[in-house]
Amino acid sequence: MTVLVNGEPRLLEPGTTVEALVRTLVEEPERGVAVALDREVLPRRAWGETTLRDGQEIEVLQAVAGG
């Protein structure tokens, strides 16, 4: 299935959780990372139980220097 990850389409195994995806992007996502699934905030505690579906958009964000 294809999921839009941070604006780029990515092929993922069906059943991939948000938690699993995030760990491919960030080594230690325990702090400083947030996820929006289809433009809504997905709380940290729901990452493990949320399975991605084909066509979804996910934004995985972290702190950068700014403003």
Partner: protein, 258 residues
């Protein structure tokens, strides 16, 4: 002398809030943050970049024991800004947010209509909202009425370094506000920061003037001193401005030597 700043229900020893954008390196950022004496620093949220070479500002902020203030930089609508604030709360575990809702990318001026909407929603959602605003007293009044923890008018456009284009408006905002007024954006050099405090601002938020100076740590020192200087001058009660001179040495007792 060191009257603390009451902001968001907490007391702060420093009245200088530092943005972290624009530094050439994390090392320069660290030196400048330390020199600034700031307790609160802003960061932005962006997509994770696995290829990023630079270390994380988050780690630095935590190592220095600073208080993190996430911003919503880059948002153009209330909707984006509210979502970004909620993501920041999720990522950093803080209900504080520097609310930015930009109107265009040439001036980076806030959009007052979207800003007020976003502020109302975030306050209702329990956030401690510090809104980056224009210098319009009416917008400042609406933001305060919306329950913002401060109002943060700009001095001049972000990164422009022009200082305070319209001191009258800042004065009007200070006169009318019951929440802290923090001058945000446009500071170019130390005298600008001192002037902001002399006009009655409770604090100053700046980034580019330090991060893009030739020597950021030295400029951070300058800003720390300038904020203290301006605060002291405001408290000290300055002399009025006159067209003509007023002698500082008495005329009486002048000898005849001509």
């Amino acid at each position: 002398m060191a009257e603390p700043l009451l902001l968001g229900g907490r007391e702060w020893g420093s009245r200088l809030i530092m943005g972290t954008g624009g530094f050439r390196s994390l090392a320069e950022m660290e030196a400048a943050l330390v020199a600034s004496g700031a307790e609160i620093v802003t960061v932005a949220l962006r997509r994770v970049d696995p290829a990023a070479r630079q270390g994380s500002p988050l780690e630095l902020v935590e190592r220095l024991g600073l208080f993190l203030l996430p911003n919503t930089a880059g948002c153009y609508t209330a909707r984006e800004a509210v979502r970004t604030a909620r993501l920041a709360r999720e990522a950093f575990g803080t209900p504080w947010v520097k609310l930015e809702v930009i109107g265009d990318d040439r001036t980076l001026h806030p959009d007052p209509v979207e800003l007020v909407v976003a502020a109302e929603q975030l306050v209702a959602d329990g956030f401690t909202v510090l809104p980056y605003a224009g210098d319009d007293p009416i917008v400042a009044r609406r933001l305060e009425a919306a329950g913002c923890a401060a109002v943060m008018p700009l001095g001049s456009p972000i990164g422009s370094g022009r200082g305070i284009d319209n001191p009258h408006n800042i004065r009007l905002i200070v006169e009318q506000s019951s929440v802290p007024v923090i001058l945000d954006a446009g500071i170019g050099t130390a005298s600008d920061a001192a002037l902001a405090m002399e006009l009655g601002c409770d604090g100053v938020l700046l980034a580019s003037s330090v991060s893009r100076a030739d020597d950021p740590a030295e400029m951070a020192t300058a800003m720390r001193l300038a904020v203290e200087a301006g605060r002291a001058a405001r408290r000290a009660g300055r002399i009025p401005q006159r067209l003509h001179a007023q002698a500082s040495t008495a005329e009486a007792g002048r000898p005849a030597l001509g």
